[in-house]
């Protein structure tokens, strides 16, 4: 079983400068949502940004993690 804390921890480990918010809206530990804000996304395409987050999650998708709705954000001065 995986939970929001574990997912957040993995993303944080892979992207140390990121602000990570992971939610489990249905409380089913299966369908997660994450918003990841990181200055390292700057200048990268959305596909590249998502790949960076997936890389941090390793092979979780082949195992306990079924679904992750992902939003990646490049921080602006206002959100800092």
């Amino acid at each position: 079983m995986i939970d929001t804390a574990r997912i957040a921890e993995m993303i944080q480990a892979g992207l140390p400068d990121a602000e990570v918010d992971v939610r489990d809206p249905l409380n089913d530990r299966t369908h997660f949502e994450a918003t990841v804000t990181s200055p390292s996304f700057e200048g990268k395409s959305r596909v590249q940004q998502h790949k960076m987050v997936y890389a941090a999650l390793g092979d979780s998708f082949s195992g306990p993690l079924h679904a992750l709705q992902l939003t990646t954000v490049v921080p602006t001065k206002e959100t800092k």
Partner: protein, 109 residues
């Protein structure tokens, strides 16, 4: 992991020969997963014809696509041979108007 040459060729020609391809769980009419349903709805709302490929019917294809696209999840969308991403990216692009721009030269339904 490597993809078998025949599979590589099959995928390359599929994304080249179809303007828009959606690799999904189920079909556009009968999606088997909420994310796949959402991606199909986005493309339907954009009013373009697209080829839907049910990855649940072919496990070799499903496994190969993860490597081919370097993407761990489904759905996966290709437009004019370019990998666009999954349902989250499709929806964001639809809302921002980027998708419409990408689909300018694609025949509408």
């Amino acid at each position: 992991m490597n993809i078998a040459p025949e599979m590589q060729e099959k995928l390359s020609s599929q994304v080249r020969d179809n303007d828009v391809v959606l690799y999904m769980k189920g079909t556009a009419n009968f999606p088997m997963c909420g994310f796949s349903a959402r991606a199909a709805r986005v493309l339907q709302s954009a009013g373009v014809k697209f080829k839907d490929v049910n990855i649940l019917e072919d496990d070799d294809l499903r496994v190969a696509l993860k490597v081919f696209s370097d993407w761990p999840t489904f759905p996966q969308c290709y437009i004019k041979g370019e990998f666009i991403g999954g349902s989250d990216i499709l929806l964001e692009m639809y809302e921002s108007g980027e998708l419409e721009k990408k689909l300018e030269s694609v025949p509408k339904t």
